[in-house]
Symmetry: C2
Subunit: 332 residues, 2 copies
Amino acid sequence: MRATIRDVAARAGVSVATASRALSSERGVRPENRERVLAAAAALDYQPNILAAALRGRTTYTVGMVVPSIGNPYFATLVEAVEHQLRDDDRSLLLANSRYEPQTERRQIQALLDRRVDSLILVPCDRTASRDATADAAARVPTVQVDLRVDDHAGSSVTVDNEFGLRLAVDHVVGRGAYRPVFVGAEPVDSSAQERLDGYRQATGRYGLGEPDVLLGDFSTDWGRAAACRIVDRDPRPDAVICGNDMIALGVLDGLAAAGMRVPEDIQVTGFDDTPYAALSRPSLTTVRQPQDEIAAQAVRLLDAAAARSDSPPPQRIAITPVLVARGSTLP
Amino acid sequence: MRATIRDVAARAGVSVATASRALSSERGVRPENRERVLAAAAALDYQPNILAAALRGRTTYTVGMVVPSIGNPYFATLVEAVEHQLRDDDRSLLLANSRYEPQTERRQIQALLDRRVDSLILVPCDRTASRDATADAAARVPTVQVDLRVDDHAGSSVTVDNEFGLRLAVDHVVGRGAYRPVFVGAEPVDSSAQERLDGYRQATGRYGLGEPDVLLGDFSTDWGRAAACRIVDRDPRPDAVICGNDMIALGVLDGLAAAGMRVPEDIQVTGFDDTPYAALSRPSLTTVRQPQDEIAAQAVRLLDAAAARSDSPPPQRIAITPVLVARGSTLP
DNA sequence: ATGAAAGCGCTAACAG
DNA sequence: CTGTTAGCGCTTTCAT
């Protein structure tokens, strides 16, 4: 049986209260006694029962996170960044997958709340359908939306500045001679899809490139491939494809190659996210990088700030400025 | 304040004991009373405090998992498969990252144990350095090693049959005319690296292809790229590159293309794992698929079997047979 | 079938 | 500074 704090106290010859104080490293214990408690704990290989502490106190040192798809490389690296951030502080990550289903998302949030997570990091999969669950969660524990966010909800969020990111991409290709770009994105179900679409429209509008040309599907490679087929058949043919994310871009690259087009000579291509894939494609993909470490750091910071105050602090919306990473899919 | 079981009991006009029994859906409660308890719970939006239940009882409905790198697409999809498996049963996943550091791995296992996970799924990052921590964990809770395993430890494990997988790859390229293959793998720090290397040696031995040609680095794209440079300089030049995993293969593909070689005409290439990347490269990658859903299912099954018995059941080592997925990087 | 009561291991008043 | 005393919310004997 594992040693409890009573065993430690007994061995150190003090009361459990003193042992607890010494272990929790608060002050208010005579150095000599603290010594003895610590020694006893070490000798007994004492490991506090976090569950009991959580039941009595109020923190579980656990934060919950719900993402649409753990297997998606973008979210996987985001989860990794968050976990890394948390580990520095000896906290753990309770991870759940919504599978892009608002229904499932709701249940997962509930499950995390049942486990008394201290706070929640959410990537709401649907701009509207995720709203209620997100709001309910925020009413219970400090909550921050990351990467994606729901409409009309005043909670805190940390996202990348998608509009700006798209402008970077458009500026880049236009600066390299493109004057007939096309956007291949996703139906605006989530906030990024929406903002990137808006960003594209704004950016092309600034150049007076005429009616924005957009093709909308989902954030998948398959869609990118399908879109590429449509693009090559166009007359006049676009000279740049601005994609809503890297997956789409990879599909576009593949579809274009299959149609015998040369990238970037015949047509330039850009992605968004800078997932690990981007550097590996042939040609390598010019893309807009999301600084995930910073996103994770800000999210955790916001959560901690909220936890530190008993009143709920005003929600903050942090938009991180992305940078463009130029690679082989655009002209030098 | 959230409703507690006392509130439910009061509202239903029964004792907490009866309420607890009704809620835990054990039998021994008059149908009529159970009705009332359930109704009261619903009315009060009662949500049991899992922590309290865990403190008193013994299960947390939480399983811990430690992987070397969450961001690695292979592990990300494995985590997803496990999470999916667990969700069906309303259990949660406490995830941790060892970052390929045995030290960190040990701490993470400890942290999970502190949180009283019911069982542990481990991907030990080092064949030898992870041994003690793995054994300690197994002494405390049902534990299963997945994908990787430590040397000389009799615990349960679920892995793919790496030797067989390599034989599939070698057979495939040899069947397509290759007679001078080279293996680009990783130093045998973890068990897969070791087994794949062994598998390559055995497979080529069967064909009498002479002294096995192997290049050892790590499981990264960079290493694959570097290895490709060495390969093109060889005289006579190899006609097939069997890689230790997909990442290496992608690097090899890149390095070969940079050197102007055609794949698969001049040289065939195979990977291992069938990560999402494999289908996206150009040419797409012929690889050995690991059935992750099955691996996850078996792992969870083993854990549940162990939990069901009070005595520790005999450890099981399950080796799942992989299949080859032929794509464009090998001849038709 | 039901209720009273005893804790699980810990922290947080409250006295001393 | 330290010990005593209550519980946190739940499950589980043990009587009834």
